[in-house]
């Protein structure tokens, strides 16, 4: 097997499909043209409403071996994936490739479908039980994980062809105009579903809030939707929305946020700058502290790319930022603002960070603050597997935000409970060290040696600066060296870089 640019041995074929080894960011040029969906003509009828999922599956002609897709705006409150997959199972349709943007613990009912023949493989993020089951070898074929933008690229390039897209729609009209800002299961934008609506052969909207024609605002337009299926409930609002997200109260995590703020201040903070916001505890704290500092200094940002939360909305309303780009809303404040504020813009995911496009939002980012499960002495980051080898998380937008941001900061504790976070070698490479600039821990920061400009800018700062090797040794001294994960030679998942090259693989874990 070839060795890729981060020193990992990777196969050249996954599930019978050819893949290139990772060669570095923006090192593998695209080939070919955008892939298209089936041309179709709808009968002369003023309604696309179909009364059950079973009926719609018959209408679209779903067969053994086909690919179905889902978006994850309803997160851990989603009912649609389970509803559709359970119907497929009951109808006896087999060997389905499931192509979600992400799955969550709520989708555990899919685990038995991995072994009963319903699902042959999942290509998408698997947060929790499905990832764990896959790690122990439950999936017949090999899982493929892509970042948000990598998934868009895969659809646009034809690497993945979607037969039927099932699109959860918090609001829909009978002719297929959809939005996510109204209805009992409101989730904000429908950004993740847009590429599927455009490129799938058949598209089905599933809604619990059918409104008279035309629905407004419109996120996904009627000419891309074949059928609309009303159901009782598409989700549980408590799992869709996070409630009021709280800034971390942990003193060490707050220290990490303060150090990160100091790096942003010294390196990037100026009028008109831009940054990526997230919903993690440290990330929220950085956003809040940054807003306070900007107010104090009279600095205004040009845009924030979200991960939108109340903290981002507050900054918009206080005039601290001109525009908010929204690919995902985490709380009801974000949903309300998306509906009401003209400078809060829903962005299709194709605009986020697809390297095979005319340029994404991430290319315009000055600062990206990201998390990690592990970081190693080459600045490689792992967000997919735990140190015991289990695949438990998706990639999200980590790769493209890291690749695009002029200053990419990874905020991590030196260790979590007894598990070192800074390691000699990450269990799995999600994002290569070449696009990571600063690692911030509660003990101090490490700057990627190739960023002389940042090293220079941080001279004279109160923040302790270490070689990353020293941080790694410190973590190992405190925690002790952990045992190596007990894995086999069977590859259970491939991790793709956003350009579709293989950056790493995940091996089956012994029980």
């Amino acid at each position: 097997m070839p060795i890729n640019a981060v020193g990992r041995e990777v196969p050249s074929e996954i599930n019978g499909q050819k893949f290139k080894p990772f060669a570095g960011d923006m090192k593998t040029p695209p080939e070919g043209r955008r892939a298209g969906s089936l041309l179709r003509m709808v009968p002369e009828s003023r309604s696309k409403v179909v009364n059950s999922i079973e009926e719609v599956i018959k209408k679209v002609g779903l067969e053994d071996g086909m690919t179905v897709s889902f978006h994850h705006h309803l997160r851990n409150g989603d009912f649609v994936v389970n509803m559709v997959m359970e119907t497929i199972r009951k109808m006896g349709i087999k060997d389905i490739r499931v192509f979600p943007t992400a799955l969550f613990p709520v989708h555990e009912p899919l685990v038995p479908m991995l072994s009963d023949g319903t699902i042959r493989r999942i290509e998408g993020s698997m947060n929790g039980p499905l990832g764990e089951a896959t790690s122990y070898g439950a999936m017949r074929e090999t899982a493929v994980l892509r970042s948000h933008s990598g998934r868009v690229r895969a659809v646009e390039s034809g690497e993945v062809h979607i037969d039927v897209a099932f699109i959860a729609a918090p609001t829909a009209d009978p002719y297929g105009n959809l939005n996510g800002v109204d209805g009992p299961s409101a989730c904000g934008p429908l950004a993740y579903g847009m590429v599927d609506a455009y490129h799938a052969d058949h598209t089905v909207a599933i809604t619990d809030h059918l409104v008279p024609y035309p629905a407004h605002p419109i996120s996904i337009f009627q000419h891309q939707i074949d059928y609309v299926v009303p159901v009782n409930k598409i989700g549980d609002p408590n799992g869709i929305m996070s409630g009021t997200l709280r800034i971390t109260t942990s003193p060490s995590r707050l220290k990490i946020a303060r150090y990160a703020l100091e790096v942003i201040d010294k390196v990037a903070l100026k009028d008109g700058f831009s940054f990526q916001a997230g919903a993690g505890g440290i990330s929220l704290a950085v956003t809040k502290f940054l807003g306070d500092l900007m107010k104090k200094r009279g600095i205004r940002a040009s845009f924030i790319n979200g991960g939108v939360t109340k903290y981002v909305v507050d900054m918009l309303h206080e005039g601290l930022v001109d525009v908010v780009f929204d690919g995902q809303a985490f709380d009801l404040d974000a949903v309300k603002s998306l509906k009401e504020d003209a400078n809060h813009i829903e962005t299709p995911l194709a605009m986020y960070g697809n390297p095979y496009s005319s340029g994404g939002i991430v290319n315009m980012l000055d600062v990206g603050v990201l998390g990690a499960t592990e970081v190693d002495i080459d600045f490689n980051v792992n967000v997919n597997t735990h140190s015991d080898g289990l695949l438990l998380h998706g990639i999200g937008g980590h790769q493209e935000v890291a690749a695009g941001s002029a200053l990419t900061i990874v905020t991590v504790p030196l260790y979590r409970y007894r598990v070192p976070v800074i390691k000699e070698r990450v269990t799995t490479v999600t994002t290569p060290g070449e696009v990571i600039d600063v690692v911030v821990t509660e003990h101090g920061i490490a700057i990627n040696p190739k960023r002389d400009d940042i090293i220079e800018a941080m001279r004279g700062s109160k923040v302790p600066v270490y070689d990353i090797q020293d941080l790694q040794k410190k973590a190992e001294r405190i925690c002790g060296k952990p045992q190596e994960p007990k894995t086999t030679d069977d590859i259970i998942a491939a991790i793709l870089w956003r350009d579709g090259t293989i950056i790493d693989v995940v091996y089956r874990v012994k029980k």
């Binding site: 140190s387 015991d388 080898g389 979590r416 409970y417 007894r418 598990v419 405190i478 925690c479 002790g480 952990p482 045992q483 994960p485 007990k486």
Partner: protein, 81 residues
């Protein structure tokens, strides 16, 4: 029976019970990463304890485990006297 520690994340609960035989049971959230290291620490610190030693680890650092074992041993000895 004596106990030291808690079942909070990052802590460890050490229980020692009087018994004619020496027996060590270890349960850890980090079994796959630190199972061997924890066993070594427990064995090493309790060589002269005859009793049932039960360690339930919630991801504690080694020095936390050592402190909890020492506290449990002291309580156990106090109980014996």
């Amino acid at each position: 029976m004596v106990k030291a520690g808690t079942l909070e994340k990052g802590d460890v609960m050490v229980t020692i019970e009087e018994s004619g035989e020496r027996e060590i049971i270890i349960k850890s959230k980090l079994e796959r990463l630190y199972g061997e290291a924890i066993r070594k620490t427990v064995e090493e610190m309790t060589t002269d304890i005859v009793g049932k030693i039960y360690v339930e680890d919630m991801g504690a650092l080694d020095w936390v485990i050592r402190a909890r074992i020492e506290a449990a041993i002291r309580k156990f000895r106090g109980e014996e006297q």
